[in-house]
Subunit: 181 residues, 2 copies
């Protein structure tokens, strides 16, 4: 099983957090919810989901995780001004391990300066920002470019989650730590 | 007196609409609220203000307005995917008349492709997007570059509104049409 980091902030898109979170746990993986204030509860913009922040990015080492999943909504707009979150995302991306971002999630990838030369998709409102950052924007439900997996909206969640899970084979015999720190 | 267009969408920053709107009217100017659905009421993200959409951008001619004021919050993220709004903003900007944008408002200017080579400010989360679009980002309460007036957040509203009003001398004797269309 794998350990996945999910960075989340206020006004996240409810299902874009909840569905990957639930499906990763159901598949036997562990998830650490990263945010700005440990112990804080952040709310989805639709009011149907909440998330409790477990750790700040400053307290974590990207090397301890197997994948990074970035939900959308307005959460990435809040997180991208936090240097520790952005540094974590940059270092994780550069490790070459799977990074999945949906909807506005790629805003964090712009801030981490890792999209230049990449093929990806997103919610259409940030297409121009991604193109200005050097990415090639494609209108498909899931775009995979090397370690990067991206989708457009909650309607793409099923194939988005499938693409993430496909990168996370259950590692028989590897010890599973439930929490860090 | 002048006629000012204010484009607005769901989850706008309440005070960034309400304060310029109120102060422009109080100074004797007229305001037309532009949005995606005429007659619709859109809500501020803090729940303290609402705005009723009077016209769509498709129904208006930039030549009929003297200034454009773009509030922030998540409103610009919604409006930037509407081609008519973006086209209106681009044509208005190119007219050389005053364009004022605060907080996330400059996202609409990115989409209209008018910020290259300009000095401006914004909410810090979109600084990188503005720089990638070719702008020079400055951390000041009001940045004025030719026809462009920008501010960072609700805390800058007083000098932001002053800067707008300074560009709008009351034109004695000019007929004042209350509504268009």
């Amino acid at each position: 099983m794998a350990r996945i980091a999910i960075p989340i902030g206020e006004d996240f898109e409810d299902s874009e957090f909840q569905e990957p979170y639930d499906r990763l746990l159901k598949a036997g993986h562990s998830v650490v919810v990263i945010g700005l204030e440990p112990g804080a509860t952040v709310r989805g913009k639709k009011g149907t989901a909440t998330a409790t922040i477990e750790q700040t990015a400053a307290d974590l080492d990207p090397a301890d995780f197997d994948a990074l999943v970035i939900p959308g909504g307005y959460s990435p707009d809040h997180l991208r001004t936090d240097e520790d979150v952005v540094d974590f995302v940059r270092r994780f991306f550069e490790s070459g391990k799977p990074v999945a971002a949906i909807c506005h999630g790629p805003q964090l990838l712009i801030e981490a300066d890792v999209v230049e030369g990449r093929e990806l998709t997103s919610w259409p409102s940030i297409r121009t920002d991604l193109q200005n950052a050097g990415a090639t924007w494609i209108d498909e439900e899931v775009v995979e470019d090397d370690n990067l997996i991206t989708s457009r909206s909650p309607e793409d969640l099923d194939p988005f989650c499938e693409a993430i899970l496909d990168r996370l084979p259950l590692k028989i015999g590897k010890p599973h730590r439930e929490t860090i720190g």
